[in-house]
Amino acid sequence: MNSVSMENKENWQPVIKDGMVAAWPICLGYLPIGLAFGVIAQKAGLHPLEIGLMSLFVFAGSAQFIAVSMLSSGAAIVPIVVTTFMVNLRHLLMSSSLAVYLKGPSKGWLSLYAYGVTDESFALNLTKFRDEDWDWRRALVVNHTANIAWIGSTIAGGYGGEFIPSGAFGIDYALIAMFICLLVFQLRGLLYTIIAIIAGFLAVILSLMFPGNSYIIIASVIAATIGVFLRKSKIFSDSEKRL
């Protein structure tokens, strides 16, 4: 602990409070999904302890759902692991994008931070890094608060989460609403809005053409690349040079 306290002179108490307060929409959104996952995993034959361990080791909602459905249909280990890798490859882009803001922490802290990179924590922390006085410690607390909510709700689901009525209080919409708002925060000019429209349309078309979720990576990479060329082009080079 000595090296930790030397490295971080800042008091952790307000940091933990800020991070936990910021994480609430994610926790709220994880609750119904986690419960649903727990119920399904338990039906597929996983013990609540195994459910908790999967949520702890993997911490990736959609991949866990897919893995459990593959397990219950008798798939072997290697196909499940390969599918998980494909489904979660999108985090490569998110971590690349976060790296710009994570110059402070040591390699050990970075490795811990990497564990908590999800669609939700990425979107929330990146917005905060850009718009607010946000730092990696607060972001790390967001990651781990979300992690605890995920592990807890999946285990609770494994012990019989069926008693929670699905759709209660519109809770199913919490994450979509959060993503919509975070998307709005990213629309920082005409060029960004155009990129959002291109990425969204591409994603819809690709998602209709191919199973799985590779459409997220492909659409994002294409749209961002178009963005780089548009920024260089004459139309945008005068009005939108923000870098």
């Binding site: 609430w24 929409p25 034959g45 996983l46 195994e50 361990l53 080791f57 911490f59 397990l71 280990i77 692991v81 390969v82 998980t84 890798f85 999108r90 985090h91 490569l92 882009l93 998110m94 971590s95 690349s96 790296a99 710009v100 110059k103 922490p105 970075l110 990179v117 669609d119 990425f122 759709g167 209080f169 519109g170 919409y173 919490a174 979509i176 609403a177 959060m178 993503f179 919509i180 708002c181 975070l182 998307l183 709005v184 925060f185 990213q186 960004y192 959002a196 429209i197 990425a199 994603a203 819809v204 998602s207 997220i216 659409a219 994002s220 749209a223 961002a224 690349t225 780089v228 920024r231």
Partner: protein, 106 residues
């Protein structure tokens, strides 16, 4: 505890962690070239849009286009609310409330 399940969980954990860790380890301590910073600058807006839009207009397995989903109806006022207020908390609450309302009515 089932040994096969533990192996699956461990394997899944490793292959999920690597793409999360590698870019942070590789990129965070370096001076990145300008084109890469510019490219990464567009990634958040692109990813968020690519995550959200298919959730609103596609459904089923295999996915099909469906423009009459309550998810889409609710997204429009939620989007406008976010644009006007720029409040994350407010947007989440409003979105949930409207979705709850729409599902009661329809």
């Amino acid at each position: 505890m089932n040994a096969d399940y533990m192996l699956v969980i461990l394997g899944m954990g490793i292959v999920t962690y690597i793409p999360r860790w590698f870019p942070l380890f590789l990129l965070s301590r370096r001076q990145l070239p300008e084109w890469l910073v510019g490219w990464l600058d567009f990634i958040p807006v692109a990813i968020l849009s690519a995550l959200v839009l298919p959730c609103l207009v596609t459904t089923g397995e295999p996915r099909q286009l469906d423009l009459l989903r309550p998810e889409l109806f609710v997204a429009i006022p939620t989007f406008i609310f976010a644009l006007k207020t720029r409040s994350l908390a407010g947007t989440v609450v409003i979105g949930m409330f409207l979705f709850w309302l729409v599902r009661i009515i329809f």
